[in-house]
Symmetry: C2
Subunit: 139 residues, 2 copies
């Protein structure tokens, strides 16, 4: 496995970390993708396109993720009076509660690694350069 190309190591590591997470998350009725959305709307309501851009995900993917969150009662969608194409996504009280609980364990489950800041920098580099113009917004 030491001979594997770096990209393959990256996706394998990612999958295994996500898997380790899954149990704790499903116990809360959440999923990985859902947690990201809860995090993003923590800063206030947003439209689906905005959320997709921030999560670096296509709008169709975000649409389904939000649909599942709504089904669980963690968020609500309200039509925007000013632009009736838009649906504004908002956290519910239940969503706020589950986010508070999930957030605390999010960092704890990540395995120990020698140079954590170095790893984070490398990942941010990769995201920046590999995003290839698809995600204009850097924030």
């Amino acid at each position: 496995m030491r001979d594997w190309p770096t990209g393959r190591l990256l996706s394998t590591a990612s999958r295994l970390v996500e898997h380790a997470w899954l149990e704790a998350l499903t116990a809360l009725g959440l999923s990985h993708a859902g947690l990201i959305v809860l995090h993003l709307v923590d800063g206030g309501p947003a439209t689906q396109v905005e959320l997709a851009g921030l999560a670096r995900v296509e709008a169709q993917t975000m649409s389904r993720t939000i649909e599942r969150l709504e089904r669980e009662g963690f968020i609500e969608r309200h039509p925007d009076a000013a632009d009736r194409r838009r649906r504004v996504v908002e956290r519910t009280a239940s969503g706020a509660a589950v986010f508070a609980r999930a957030r605390s364990i999010e960092a704890e489950l990540f395995p120990e690694v020698d140079d954590l800041p170095g790893l984070r920098d490398a990942l941010l580099d990769i995201i920046g350069s590999s995003g290839g113009g698809r995600w204009a917004d850097g924030r």
Copy 2:
């Protein structure tokens, strides 16, 4: 995004790198998962359970991946005479050819990063510790 938990950075980076790959790979009629299998059977024929273990993937997932590779004509499955539960997976000439072409570009597409060996070590660490006994074989 600098505030994101490391696990989320990891999966985001992984997805973006895979996406950058997809175009080159689909042009060859291949997929990420398929390429891994072609790499693994490069060392000789193997059973599906063996391949699943080496790729760190469940047997059901490997089953479908192999099915698609077979459909494309890149591998063949033969029943094992000694143990009729087993199906031995073998590369075809076409599979060998496409692997040779894909392999050469695999490393080239990975973005530049400062401390590549450090990154690889960190990822191997994560895979090792986060595999949590699921994948006994360390090789």
